[in-house]
Symmetry: D3
Amino acid sequence: MIAHSFNHPGFGPAQRLHGATYVIDVTFFSKQLNEMQTVIDIALAHKALKEVLAPLDYQNLDELPQFEGQLTTTEYLARYIHNEVKKAVTGEFSGRIKVQLGESHEAWAAYES
Amino acid sequence: MIAHSFNHPGFGPAQRLHGATYVIDVTFFSKQLNEMQTVIDIALAHKALKEVLAPLDYQNLDELPQFEGQLTTTEYLARYIHNEVKKAVTGEFSGRIKVQLGESHEAWAAYES
Amino acid sequence: MIAHSFNHPGFGPAQRLHGATYVIDVTFFSKQLNEMQTVIDIALAHKALKEVLAPLDYQNLDELPQFEGQLTTTEYLARYIHNEVKKAVTGEFSGRIKVQLGESHEAWAAYES
Amino acid sequence: MIAHSFNHPGFGPAQRLHGATYVIDVTFFSKQLNEMQTVIDIALAHKALKEVLAPLDYQNLDELPQFEGQLTTTEYLARYIHNEVKKAVTGEFSGRIKVQLGESHEAWAAYES
Amino acid sequence: MIAHSFNHPGFGPAQRLHGATYVIDVTFFSKQLNEMQTVIDIALAHKALKEVLAPLDYQNLDELPQFEGQLTTTEYLARYIHNEVKKAVTGEFSGRIKVQLGESHEAWAAYES
Amino acid sequence: MIAHSFNHPGFGPAQRLHGATYVIDVTFFSKQLNEMQTVIDIALAHKALKEVLAPLDYQNLDELPQFEGQLTTTEYLARYIHNEVKKAVTGEFSGRIKVQLGESHEAWAAYES
């Protein structure tokens, strides 16, 4: 649950400070299963996502240094969270990761790499 | 998609300015169907809801005069929107109305009267 | 999956022959559980609903005698299916029943009695 | 919300005139974000989809010239709508597009190119 | 995620040891909002539900003493969890509570009191 | 609705006999539509899936010979069901198939080939 504003005339009313609840789904892709017959240890996946999201929840993104001067669109945030999750699981998981941010049951953006 | 903050120590991190996307469902209850075999003219229902929500979308609720000094929780907003929808359909519909605000697929609040 | 048209000027484009997929949910209410610790035998409930829906599926409702001269709105169909389900479970279940017809994930009508 | 029939013996009861509500999701894919940090201007996407769908909604597809002699299955319609959306955004978006038509929460077809 | 079996001939194949994933939704009803403009402190609600569910998760219910000789149907479990949640919030919340157990997106049971 | 246990210390409480309800979605991919303008005859797809799932429903997987000595994780089961469905449609469909097993609305695994 974050607040932010979009400093670009193309966004119309979304230039005002407003908010969003994101439902975040992370998918891990693998060609092989590990010895536990899983793609990734789900506890590790939960921990990584939790660490990445903790500094963002209930925040006004306009005031966070890592987003200074950025347009924090859903697409931008999907890529940002993807990159942070990738870093957080380095050494444990090296496959593709997809991060999807749902703004509502109707609109979403995702980044996969 | 709104921004707001909760000025009460019980809210923990939600005391900070943050945001929310609400998916809003309105239900109209009636003991009888009208001559079109409907509970309410759906065009009228859409129009009423649109008029009620327009002044709220992409806003920081902390800055709107109608919410001054209020804790704009999901419960509070459900009742506020319920009352505004009820006024907007006066003369056309007099039955019970339920307004539900979904914060995500996991949490919601509703007001019915 | 049915086709129908609405012979009433208030319906605008829905006066034309068009169609709908309905997702139908039936809820059975009871103050007590039976000796199997259930509200109703789910096999009986499935059978009743299947029998009621079979004559309607893949039909043009405008051509069915039971709907002659009727506006087969979602509300009307919810009550019609409710009444048929109630008859089909007579002797086995006497509590309240709710039938909900979802036109999509956004619009629905229900009848409860 | 459309009506149609399938003139092929393999379809069983779906050979009769029946109907469907489609929930249509369009996904736009891009390797880069534009200067607004989005994949596509969502207003443009909405406008394109609205223009493509307007001539189909509340129609009997059997009577529309563009579908004469065609089996308007969900798969066929997904490809048709995909091609029309692609044309409608030409000059503005040149990436892959996926169009998915959900018949219900259980069955869907999609076309991606 | 529990395992159980139903020792009653009416259950057919469900007499065998099998399992279920339940998605559990709890609704709290109130005529008035409290001074925080909420129905219940959501942290308290989470805590209560967590405490009630902890002894059940990843268990074979056939082996738990509190269910000895019981048919642990979805209906039975909804009432059991309802009663435990009610006890867990005693002193903090005295309104009606509804507990719904979803077995899948198609089947559910609920208890409200 | 199955029961199983995971005989590997990495699974924590899931080493106990527990259960799961899986919602199973199968997707068939094709570059061309057949003469019925479909990807696959949906009756054939239903029949294949039904045959594959029948021996698994309401079972304790720990006791089935085909899973002896296996960790029947969601990932493992997705691949197992995928392979069985592929065999069941041999001669009728030769494209890619994706099998997804949803444990709840929050967690799933899929296998595609």
